[in-house]
């Protein structure tokens, strides 16, 4: 037994020599339960953004004036139209002058015996053998003051020359007494063609009625050919001459009439019913300024992406197409002034003005149209139906305003080769259709952001916040882009109320695609520095900003896309304190 104990002692001694102990405290205050998970290169794939095309940048669905042509190129087209009617009568009325109504000097005639009278078959005639001039003073001075420049002719409506003769006699006047009155009119007066009109001489003929008045058939004055130029006086006197008054009576009745004394009162009238001469049609030149047409185009529902602060658009060959239709017989110059408004303030620096002639219609019942192409330069492929007009409209929508005000002035072209024709009964219509076409292009001034806001949720936000509170994180990945321009990718953080947190935004330039449009991949490596306010993070925003730089003039096509593959990397891993959960 002694040996046994010796052996046991030896074993125990051997074990003791090889064994060792150390101290370890697992008391709560002595435990550090912080752990770091994930490793040195912890990366969480966030995923892929949508393939953002220019459509996403432009948000075409929400903008009803953004279109894409058959080649996939985007353009803004803002259309407006106007329709203005101008009654011509208000101008034609200025061409009215008082009519002519003149009483000739009273004449007395003793009826001679038969021997001294001309004898016709069964009738006896005698005349007054008179010569009297009638001066007709005409003035268009008022019309001239209102813009009348020249008068070629006036066509008159319901204007007649209608003389009157009233007879009194010391004996009873024989029934059937016929009176003829000869009037010589100025040669520029055109009367209707009739049996009474012989050149400038009009012979009126009438039969005395029971009241001893002689009523003549009126003769229609159709036109007055004035041919007054701008240098001519618009006040002048036209002279009418009454050459003779001839009486004819039946031979049988004449005998009882012989020896009587006849008193003749004659009148010459030239007017319409209201005593004036009214131009039914004016031909000449007028200097008219029609009431301006005011149109306002409200650009509502525009997303911030297109009109937000800092958004600057650029356009390739912007142009406007104007179609003007009118039945006006007056050549009119259109002077348009387009003024953008933002926040109620006019941006006069970006105002656009252009002028062009309206079409001319010699027949007011027929409307003619004209098509204008307005741009800085005449495009080589412009359709032949268009007439090109130089107009600088590229700056108009460089940024999209709240509304666009259009002031369209219409002014007659005084020096036009065509005569101005005003039809008194006509309404002149001016109908216009304007389309501002702005192909969106990449210019040096172009700046267009699109934002992808990620609501990362409380769990991810907590992880992100916790990480950022102790270490930097890296937003990594890669961006594939076929945009022909470089793109500035910016990442920043929002709190729950969508306020931008005071964490320095990180950004990186994404390379532009090659000229052939082949996609270029840019590694993404954006370092977000540690911050003490990380706890407020609720959203992560990725903002892509097209950044044309030197690629100015390249049209934006839907062939271009950009897609980001994003991961969050927390170098060194995530550190948690498990003790907080105990």
């Amino acid at each position: 037994m002694q040996k046994l104990f010796l052996v046991l002692a030896g074993v125990v001694t051997l074990a003791s020599l090889t064994a060792c102990t150390s101290e370890m405290s697992l008391n709560k205050e002595d435990l550090d339960l912080s752990i770091t998970v994930g490793g040195d290169s912890l990366s969480l794939p966030l995923g892929f953004t949508d393939s953002l095309t220019i459509e996403d940048f432009l948000n075409t669905d929400s903008v009803d004036f953004l279109f894409k042509d058959e080649n996939g190129n985007y353009y803004l087209e803002i259309s407006t139209s106007f329709d203005q009617t101008f009654p011509v009568s208000q101008y034609a009325d200025q061409m009215s002058v008082p009519g002519l109504s003149r009483q000739l000097a009273e004449k007395h005639l003793s009826i001679p015996d038969l021997g001294s009278l001309a004898m016709r078959t069964g009738t006896m005639s005698f005349d007054l053998n008179m010569e009297e001039e009638i001066a007709y003073e005409v003035s268009f001075q008022e019309a001239k003051d209102s813009g009348l420049v020249s008068i070629k002719y006036l066509k008159l409506r319901d204007t007649y020359m209608s003389p009157e003769v009233h007879l009194t006699s010391t004996k009873t006047l024989p029934e059937g007494l016929t009176v003829e009155l000869e009037v010589e009119v100025p040669s520029h007066y055109d009367f209707e063609e009739s049996e009474f009109v012989q050149g400038d001489l009009i012979t009126f003929s009438g039969v005395m009625d029971a009241n001893e008045d002689v009523v003549f058939n009126p003769v229609h004055l159709e036109q007055i050919n004035l041919n007054l130029g701008i240098e001519d006086a618009f006040e002048f006197v036209d002279t009418f001459k009454v050459h003779n008054i001839i009486f004819t009576v039946d031979e049988n009745a004449f005998e009882q009439f012989m020896g009587s004394d006849l008193t003749i009162r004659a009148y010459v009238n030239l007017s319409s019913d209201d005593g004036r001469l009214h131009a039914d049609t004016f031909c000449g030149k007028v200097d008219l300024e029609l009431p301006a047409i005011e149109e306002s185009i409200e650009l509502t529902g525009i997303p911030d992406i297109l009109k937000g602060e800092g958004v600057s658009l650029d356009f390739a060959n912007p142009h406007a197409r104007l179609t003007m239709t009118t039945n006006a017989g007056v050549p009119v110059m259109i002077n348009a002034h387009v003024l953008p408004y933002s926040n109620g303030v006019a941006d006069r620096d970006r105002a656009v003005a252009f002028s062009m002639a309206a079409p001319f219609s010699a027949d007011w019942t027929v409307s003619n149209s004209i098509y204008y192409w307005l741009s800085e330069e005449q495009p080589a492929d412009m359709s032949s139906e268009y007439t090109w007009v130089e107009a600088d409209i590229s700056s108009l929508l460089q940024s999209i305003p709240d509304n666009i005000s259009m002031n369209i002035g219409l002014h007659s072209i005084v020096d036009s080769p065509e005569d101005h024709i005003l039809y008194r009964d006509a309404d002149y219509h001016f109908t216009g259709d304007v389309k501002f076409n702005m192909p969106i292009a990449l210019g040096q001034e172009f700046h267009l952001p699109v934002r992808d806001t990620l609501e990362i949720g409380p769990d991810v936000a907590d992880v992100l916040a916790q990480s950022l509170s102790v270490t930097d994180i890296v937003i990594g990945g890669q961006v594939n882009s076929s945009f022909p321009v470089s793109i500035n990718l910016k990442a920043y953080f929002l709190d729950a109320a969508y306020n931008v947190l005071d964490i320095p935004a990180v950004q990186q330039t994404i390379e532009s695609a090659s000229a052939d449009g082949e996609t270029v991949t840019t590694p993404l490596n954006m370092l977000v520095s540690r911050t003490d306010i990380a706890g407020s993070i609720a959203y992560l925003v990725f903002a892509f900003e097209l950044n044309p730089g030197d690629a100015a003039g390249v049209a934006l096509s839907d062939d271009s896309m950009i897609q980001a593959e994003i991961f969050l990397q927390v170098p060194g891993g995530l550190t948690f304190d498990l003790g907080e959960n105990f």
Binding site: K3, L4, V7, L8, V11, V12, L14, A15, S16, T18, A19, C20, T21, S22, E23, M24, S25, L26, N27, K28, D30, L31, D32, L33, S34, I35, T36, V37, G38, G39, D40, S41, L42, S43, P45, L46, G47, F48, T49, D50, D452, T453, L454, E455, I456, G457, P458, D459, V460, G476, G477, A564, E565, I566, F567, Q569, G572, G573, T575, L578
Partner: protein
């Protein structure tokens, strides 16, 4: 001094159990009544009978991982976890093996008898119960927890993650004999075991591939499981996935039958310069248990998971939902589904192969040996290399020390055998007695608790025998030479 006290306590605790044990350390013990458990050709010097109910208790509980693998002193004076940023990957992984185990093994023999017929024919008869539960925790799994993403991409291939447990009764009849007439020093033995299967549970992730990259996180897993035995039935959810088990103790019983064999041989050089050298080799538990179909539940899970981030990231992205879906997908990777139809199933029991060489000197009173073993577990193949030293100052007493190289790093094996020619003998020892301890203080304990630092393991083998007397040819001849 404290160390001495702690070790003494452990020894005393083990010694309190009068026992006879199957200990790896006993492999080279000349007069061991249990060495035939390793090699059927081995035989003690005389017949014996195990003390009823105490003939053999072989118990091992623990892991080859210890507190020291997971707790580290930090620069701030505190104790930190292995995932603390101060603990380097190299520091942590240096203590982690490729295969890490957590398990419980119990070999309990109700009845054990060994006796000689003739000079060299030795018979054994035994009845016992074996329980073997293993958790396999591959080192890659721990590397994953510590390293995470170290590069882009970081790839993990995790194999042999699982649990296996088997419980069966065993009735054994063994025979060994020497062939002195043919070749002096040669001894051959075999043992036939009738197995009564009580339960066999196995769940294993055969393959779990993890890919962690900036472009994606992906995983593919293939897992399988089976449950053989009575008293357990699966509970499936509406989609056919396993959601739990119903356990009915009243239905526990025999679920299958089987057989196994042990075979072994040894050769001892009796003459010449190699006199005293012994070569031995054996295989134990080479067998199976067949379970009836109604007592067999087969489960499988195979799933791929890929997270490439979120397509169409944008304002509408619901990260919470994505994360929730991801969690569900990850969980579903290990959702087992019962296979449609199974018949009777056969499971191999855990076989072990041994190969040893030892050399005796000092007239066979002392020997040293080297034992290699390979244990063919259903989820884990374990290799072990054990160095042993034995000293038998008398034929009735043997003391042995061993050091196992592969499963643990800082444990010591020891064995004390008292096996008199006649009378009561005891056997007590441990293959893995930790040497490094940590005195742990906690808020809950009023004293410092010594805890194995590197291998949290409790391993004991013990038993009680009654010797019949008789003779052993080798021992007699050696001592007589």
């Amino acid at each position: 001094m404290k160390k001495l006290i702690y070790l003494s306590l452990v020894l005393l605790m083990a010694a309190a159990v009068e026992s006879q044990a199957q200990s790896r350390t006993s492999y080279f013990v000349r007069n061991s009544t249990q060495s035939h458990e390793f090699n059927a050709s081995f035989a003690p010097q005389h017949g014996y009978m195990g003390f009823p109910l105490l003939s053999n208790i072989d118990f091992q509980l623990g892991s080859n991982l210890g507190l020291g693998n997971f707790l580290y002193p930090l620069s701030n004076g505190k104790t930190g976890l292995w995932m603390n940023s101060e603990v380097t990957t190299e520091q942590f992984m240096s203590g982690i093996r490729e295969n890490n185990t957590l398990g419980m093994k119990l070999n309990y023999r109700l009845l054990d008898v060994g006796f000689y017929t003739g000079r060299s024919s030795f018979w054994t008869v035994s009845v016992g119960l074996k329980t073997d539960i293993d958790f396999s925790l591959p080192g890659e799994l721990f590397r994953f927890t510590k390293v995470g993403m170290s590069e882009n991409p970081t790839v993990y291939n995790i194999k042999n993650l699982g649990i296996a447990g088997e419980v069966f009764g065993q009735v054994s009849l063994g025979y060994s004999r020497g062939f002195e007439g043919v070749l002096r020093g040669l001894r051959v033995g075999a043992k036939a075991n009738l197995l009564v299967g009580l339960a066999d549970i196995h769940a294993q992730v055969d393959n779990l591939n993890l890919y962690l990259g900036t472009d994606r996180w992906s995983a593919s897993s293939k897992a399988s499981a089976y449950i053989y035995g009575t008293g357990i039935s699966p509970v499936l959810d509406d989609e056919g996935y396993l959601s739990g088990f119903n356990f009915n103790p009243q239905e526990l019983g025999i679920g299958g039958y089987g057989a196994s064999f042990d075979i072994g041989a040894s050769y001892r050089f009796e003459r010449g310069p190699l006199k005293g050298l012994r070569l031995s080799a054996s295989v134990t538990d080479l067998g199976f248990v067949t379970w009836t179909g109604e007592n067999s539940i087969m489960l499988t899970a195979e799933q791929d998971f890929t997270y490439q981030g979120i397509e169409q990231l944008g304002p509408e992205t619901d990260f919470e939902s994505v994360i929730s879906d991801m969690e569900e997908e990850l969980v579903s990777m290990f959702s087992f589904r019962q296979t449609t139809s199974v018949g009777s199933q056969t499971s191999m029991i855990t076989a072990t192969m041994y190969a040893g060489v030892d050399y005796s000197f000092l007239r066979d009173k002392m020997n040293v040996g080297l034992l290699y073993s390979r244990r063919f577990g259903s989820i884990l193949v374990e290799d072990e290399l054990t160095l042993a030293w034995n000293w038998a100052p008398t034929r009735a007493f043997d003391i042995a020390l061993s050091y196992s190289l592969m499963k643990t790093h800082s444990t010591l094996g020891w064995l004390i055998t008292l096996n008199p020619r006649r009378g009561v003998g005891i056997f007590i020892g441990s293959d893995f007695t930790p040497l490094n301890y940590v005195n742990v203080t906690t808020d809950q304990l009023p004293f410092k608790l010594p805890v194995p630092k590197n291998e949290l393991i409790f391993d004991v083998h013990c038993g009680v025998t009654i010797s019949f007397g008789g003779s052993n040819s080798r021992y007699e001849s050696t001592f007589n030479d």
